[in-house]
């Protein structure tokens, strides 16, 4: 009876010692980890501070002005360069449903409702008045008007018109 109790007590003691040992060392390990991380944080903070200081030196207004006047040839902002919202012109075309309008214009590919197409047509017809360009323009204008993006490249294949435009 007493012997069994003793054995249990001794076993418990050893087990307790082992647990305490383990807890102590894992605590020490964690403490070291914390210290290491703290050190790392401090080092990073110092690095950040160093980089910030470097950035401040590099972005110092005196330096920026020196570089800008040397390489950019910029001018001082004049009061007249500053605009306000009120002085902006009215929007040319406003609609309650702009996307719907686009879809509609795509649906009516006849050309009349397509704003870009209309503009290009006008340009084309204006150019068509020029004697030399006559004949070469109208043919491609009609089919291409269906696709606004394609319209932009219109003058290139004809060549004549582009050249004329530049000369004039």
């Amino acid at each position: 009876m007493l012997r069994g109790l003793n054995i249990i007590a001794v076993g418990g003691l050893i087990a307790a010692a082992a647990v305490v040992y383990d807890v102590k060392y894992s605590a020490t390990y964690e403490a070291q980890k914390v210290a290491r991380l703290n050190n790392e944080i401090n080092r990073e903070r110092e690095k950040i501070a160093g980089l910030k200081a470097e950035w401040s030196v590099l972005s110092a207004p005196d330096r920026i002005q020196r570089l800008a006047s040397k390489y950019l040839g910029m001018k001082q902002l004049a009061v007249t360069h500053i605009g306000s919202f009120a002085s902006l012109p009215e929007r040319l075309y406003t609609s309650a449903d702009p996307i719907g309008d686009i879809i509609n214009s795509l649906g009516h590919n006849g050309g009349k409702r397509d704003p870009i197409g209309t503009i290009i047509e006008k340009l084309e017809s204006a150019k068509a008045d020029e004697p030399e360009a006559t004949g070469s323009v109208p043919a491609p204008a009609q089919p291409e008007a269906a696709e606004p993006a394609g319209d932009m490249e219109l003058p290139e294949p004809t060549g004549d018109i582009g050249g004329d435009g530049q000369d004039n």
């Binding site: 012997r3 401040s56 207004p61």
Partner: protein
């Protein structure tokens, strides 16, 4: 097992004997000791020792750090950077000195050979070999493996913008203690004590945010540099003050210095003319004189003032620079900058009222700000009629320019005298320390007068389209050997913009302009101020407006009828 049994049986044997109480005593004593140890362990576990923790986290930080100083937009004006410093302990021996010298010079070719040898062969415990070492150099030196040569981290104060805000920031000495300017003020807030106790390490300190705007500061400094060259002046200085909050947005006094480089404190460039210097502010003081009389109801804008003949006081004669020799209205006294008129107006108030008004406006006492440097105004000892007459146009009383600006701001911001500050603050905070000194209606009239002066008077060249600038010029002769010297002038311009709802006040001072063609304030200080306003207006977010009326329409009909 057997041993344990023997031990247990022996224990049980002895406990039966006379020794039993003794054993009980010993058990008790041991139990007590263990209890104490356990208690202490619990205490340590619950409350960790902060000193130990700091030592662990920050092993090699030697010098203490200072808080960053930021401008109002958060840009760095002053910061600490860490750098390694190379040291040696010659007393402990560094091996063969010649070898060590040669090896070190492979990494640092710029080190003086003889000096290095002297240092290493001395018997000192600690010698500093080189500061500001890069990480690569540190690595290279470590690879050399010279005994008793090591590195220490030290922090260094850096001012990234260089001389830009030198006078405001001041500077620190090698021990990181503030010796001038706001750096010294930072220390006075208990930081010095923290340093002594060794607590101010790491980056724990909260940055100090100033009211200065680095971009505005730079623009102003740049323009003042140009003006200094163009007018061949001894010095130029300028100030931008927010009239609504009393915040100093820019303060430049040229010549200035680079706070990154140590210098002599007695050097002339260290003098901040705007707070430490006192000057006779010349005709800019007429604004105060006129405001005093208008506020007291002694004159109205329509009152005629006799400026036909010069005033005589003994051997003194008060005369006008732009003499009109006729009766002038109050606005004309202002725009023609009539000394006679201003003197007459001040004299109509009487000496005591004049003195009381100037005291109320803070012109007779030392103005204290966060900057440790300040000066006492020079006030005449026996203040008689002649003093009132001359002080009315800014002669005979020397004040710090910042002080005069505080009063001028009160004239235009609706009548609130707000102590200027270098720290960021809100309008609500400013209103708590503000003191009403003149009526709002008087302030309206002063704005009208200042604007009028920029349209038809001496301040025309300060006008910038869109910013509705108003201002007053002042040219004073400097006192040399107790006499006014005609060829040594101080020209001053104080400008307010926009004049209908003032936001900022700009001061420009040109000291001893040599350029003969541009001697008076209207020809040098005023155009410089105009340049500055055109440049800082967009930076400060002041919207230019072109639909503003002429000054004459500033005061409504009813207001003018009341005059």
């Amino acid at each position: 097992m057997r041993r344990i049994r023997q031990f247990v049986s022996s224990l049980s044997f002895t406990t039966r004997g006379v020794t039993r109480p003794r054993i009980a005593m010993i058990v008790l004593a041991f139990a007590a000791v263990h209890l104490i140890i356990a208690g202490r362990l619990v205490l340590i576990g619950v409350k960790s020792d902060p000193q130990v923790a700091r030592r662990v986290s920050n092993p090699d930080m030697l010098t203490s750090t200072r808080p960053d100083i930021l401008d109002r937009e958060g840009k760095q004006l002053a910061t600490d950077v860490q750098s390694a410093m190379l040291y040696a302990e010659p007393r402990k021996g560094v091996g063969y000195v010649d070898d060590a010298v040669d090896q070190l010079r492979t990494v640092f070719p710029d080190l003086d050979e003889r000096e290095l040898r002297d240092k290493l062969s001395s018997k000192k415990g600690f010698v500093r070999l080189k500061r500001e070492i890069t990480a690569e150099q540190e690595h290279a030196v470590r690879k050399l493996g010279i005994p008793h040569v090591g590195f220490l981290q030290e922090s260094k104060r850096v001012y990234p913008a260089g001389p830009e805000a030198s006078h405001v920031l001041g500077g620190v000495n090698v021990d990181s203690a503030g010796i001038a300017g706001l750096e010294k003020w930072v220390d006075s807030g208990g930081l010095a004590d923290l340093h002594m106790a060794g607590f101010a390490t790491g980056r724990s300190l909260k940055p100090v945010q100033l009211s200065l705007d680095l971009d505005v500061q730079h623009a102003m400094r740049d323009e003042l540099e140009k003006a200094k060259t163009e007018y061949q002046a001894k010095s130029t200085s300028g100030l931008v003050l927010d009239v609504r909050t009393g915040e100093i947005v820019a303060m430049v006094s040229l010549p200035d210095y680079d706070p990154n480089k140590p210098g002599k404190p007695t050097d002339l460039s260290r003098l901040n003319r705007l707070t430490t210097g006192v000057y006779e502010m010349g005709s800019t003081f007429k604004a105060l004189t006129v405001a005093m009389a208008l506020d007291a109801g002694k004159v109205t804008l329509g009152t005629p003032v006799d400026a036909r003949t010069p005033l005589h006081y003994g051997r003194f004669t008060i005369n006008d620079f732009h003499a009109q020799r006729r009766m002038l209205s109050v606005p004309e006294v202002f725009t023609y900058s009539s000394n006679i008129g201003a003197a007459k107006i001040a004299l109509s108030m009487g000496v005591d009222a004049h003195k009381a008004f100037l005291r109320k406006m803070g012109q007779l006492d030392r103005l204290r700000t966060e900057l440790p440097e300040s000066s006492m105004p020079i006030v005449p000892k026996n203040w008689g009629e002649i003093n009132t007459a001359t002080i009315s146009f800014g002669h005979g009383l020397a004040v710090a320019p910042l002080q005069a600006m505080m009063a001028t701001a009160a004239l235009v911001n609706g009548g609130y005298l707000i102590p200027p500050t270098f720290l960021k603050r809100s309008q609500a905070e400013a209103m708590k320390v503000a003191k009403r000194v003149i009526k709002p209606e008087t302030s309206d009239k002063m704005r009208y007068l200042l604007r009028l002066n920029a349209e038809v008077g001496t301040a025309k060249r300060a006008n910038v389209d869109g910013y509705y600038v108003g201002g007053k010029t002042g040219t004073s002769e400097k006192v040399v050997h107790g006499r006014y010297a005609h060829n040594r002038l101080l020209t001053i311009f104080t400008g307010v913009f926009p004049c209908d709802r003032p936001q900022y006040i700009v001061l420009v001072m040109v000291d001893e302009p040599l350029n003969k063609g541009h001697a008076t304030a209207g020809l040098n200080a005023a155009p410089t101020a105009g340049q500055i306003i055109a440049r800082i207006g967009p930076l400060l977010g002041v919207e230019p407006r072109f639909d503003l009326p002429k000054a004459d329409q500033m005061l409504t009909v009813s207001q003018r009828a009341a005059n």
